[in-house]
């Protein structure tokens, strides 16, 4: 086990216990862990997006490594701009173009997303913030168009097909597989659940009784969701405890134990001082 791994374990223990300390009450350890988490996440996502998408797939298409000598005034000017960028940030714009398998000719259509991306960044400048709307409008329009068909196909048609269940050539009852009884539950649950969200008619009389059945189905569904949520949270807790236990061994210089003890002592002092201040 090298030093950096041990140090990493100590940091992980501190951050884990820092987050857990909120269960006692809001405190400086929790605040440190929370801020570190938000900052590191934002930085990490940004760096990953830049180096896996913007640099190879955008700049790599705009300035690919040319095949031989650059000829023509426009191309020389285009790669002249690249060389200026390369002088400023050589790690992003390496000498001779970006070779990421996008061919050897610049693909100028990618100037469009480049421009839209820059426009979105303009939202930080109050006078030019209106430009950001163009980028956002494009993204929203593209996403809506992309999703419309997929939703219709998978969530509407696919689900209707899934609800159109069979009542023939299957056993009447089965605890584990398809059966008339199970399919009846699917049919009744779907219809009554959908009717509950039909608000053009007052939920009273026979209609009210049917929608009441729909509510029961919804409540069972919410109960199942709650159960799964609890199960998920316990799984995550087990994961953290498993790590804390392994970091509490001699290999990691008993990181969990030392950090826990230190945190308890400091929290006790912090609480005691806080109480004293409140009294004064």
């Amino acid at each position: 086990m090298n030093g950096s791994e041990i140090f990493g374990a100590w940091v992980a223990v501190f951050l884990t216990l820092g987050i857990f300390s909120y269960l006692y009450k809001d405190n400086p350890f929790y605040k440190i862990a929370e801020h570190v988490f938000v900052g590191v996440s934002a930085g990490y996502w940004m760096a990953m997006a830049f180096w896996t998408q913007v640099q190879p797939n955008l700049f790599g298409r705009l300035w690919p490594t040319p095949d031989g000598e650059i000829s023509g005034f426009l191309m020389k000017a285009w790669y002249g701009i690249y060389n200026i960028f390369g002088f400023i940030v050589p790690s992003v714009f390496p000498n001779g173009g970006i070779n990421k398998g996008h061919g050897h000719d610049p693909n100028f259509i990618y100037l469009l997303p480049f421009a839209l991306g820059i426009m979105m960044l303009m939202s930080v400048a109050s006078k030019l913030s209106w430009l950001a709307r163009l980028g956002i409008a494009y993204t929203v329009g593209m996403a809506a168009g992309l999703r419309a068909y997929a939703f219709l196909n998978s969530n509407v048609l696919g689900q209707i097909k899934g609800t159109a269940v069979s009542f023939v050539d299957i056993p009447f009852f089965s605890l584990t597989g398809v059966s008339v009884f199970n399919n009846l539950i699917i049919l009744v649950g779907t219809i009554t659940g959908l009717l509950y969200f039909y608000f053009s008619k007052e939920h009273s009389g026979h209609f009210g009784k049917v929608t009441r059945v729909g509510i029961y189905f919804l409540m069972i569904s919410f109960g199942a969701s709650f159960g799964f949520a609890v199960m998920g949270r316990i799984s995550l807790l087990i994961g953290r405890f498993t790590d804390l236990i392994s970091y509490g061994t001699e290999t990691y210089n008993y990181a969990s134990i030392w950090v826990l003890l230190l945190m308890i002592v400091l929290l006790a002092i912090w609480t005691f001082k806080g109480d004293k201040k409140a009294v004064n």
Partner: protein, 281 residues
């Protein structure tokens, strides 16, 4: 009787921190002293196992990692178990990541299973294409032309130089699709943009909280089987006969569930007793 009811009402207003400590204890103790409770595979886990079992040596499986450290305890055990099953059957494994941290989860799982356990060769038996931001746009790109999205893999090697990428151009070229998903983008997007349009058999492993959202797709046959959270992973581990992290966590999971259910019942009794008393006086 009144004293007992007084106790129940008082216990109902227990400091929440006491409950936290109790939960912590019931999770930690079984981790040190395992109970060895039996694990029985559910139909949905069995369906995932069966569909992988039907794959032949040389078939191609696309596995997508859409989770990170925050959901690792739930998803990672199942991806490790699934990779074990796939490599055991000599299936070619292609890995994509729609989450940035998914790449590191994939690297960890591959090191453990492909390199250390099955001694598979990178580029011939498995390939890590890596992460690309863009969510459903990436899936749509993979469906039309993989090389539009990935020109190089996670190591920076050109796809055309990787032996197992020969003849693999789009999602339709795969025999099996598996999404290890902890949210958006994840299973739902793979169903909508890849599995449904191409008809490639798809299974999934999700966090527990996602099970209710994904189950309708399983019920309608759009997804074949689902591994739900840590229990799903434990069931899959028991099906392939290789107990792992999922199995070791199930005792703590089960005991914690019993305690939580007991707390809920107790809380409700306390609530009803208190309400009856307040009506009385």
């Amino acid at each position: 009787m009144d004293k007992f009811l007084d106790f129940i009402v008082r216990a109902g207003s227990l400091d929440r921190r006491v409950i936290f400590v109790v939960i912590a204890l019931v999770v930690i103790i079984p981790l040190f002293f395992p109970l060895g409770l039996p694990i029985r595979a559910t139909n949905s886990s069995q369906a995932v196992y069966d569909v992988v079992e039907e794959l032949k040596a040389g078939d191609k499986a696309l596995v997508s990692f859409e989770y990170g450290p925050s959901t690792k305890p739930e998803i990672h055990p199942m991806t490790v178990a699934l990779l074990r099953h796939l490599f055991q059957k000599d299936v070619k494994v292609y890995i994509t990541c729609l989450w940035p941290d998914g790449q590191f989860m994939a690297l960890e799982a591959l090191e453990q299973v492909a390199d250390n356990q099955y001694h598979k060769v990178y580029g011939e038996d498995y390939v890590l294409l890596g992460y690309r931001p863009g969510a459903e746009a990436i899936i749509k790109g993979l469906v039309s032309n993989i090389r539009k999205v990935f020109t190089v893999d996670s190591r920076g090697d050109f796809l055309d130089d990787i032996p197992m990428m020969v003849g693999v151009n789009q999602v339709a070229d795969f025999d099996f699709l598996f999404s290890a998903s902890a949210g958006y983008p994840g299973t739902v997007e793979w169903v909508q943009y890849a599995a449904d349009p191409t008809g490639v058999t798809m299974s999934t492993g999700t966090t527990s909280i996602q099970v209710n959202e994904v189950m309708p797709y399983v019920q309608s046959g759009q997804i074949v089987g689902i591994l739900g959270g840590m229990p799903g992973a434990a069931e899959y581990e028991s099906l392939i006969g290789q107990p792992g992290i999922g199995t070791s966590g199930m005792d703590a999971q089960s005991v914690a569930h019993v305690v939580i259910v007991a707390f809920i019942i107790f809380g409700n009794i306390s609530f009803y007793v208190e309400r009856r008393r307040s009506k009385k006086y």
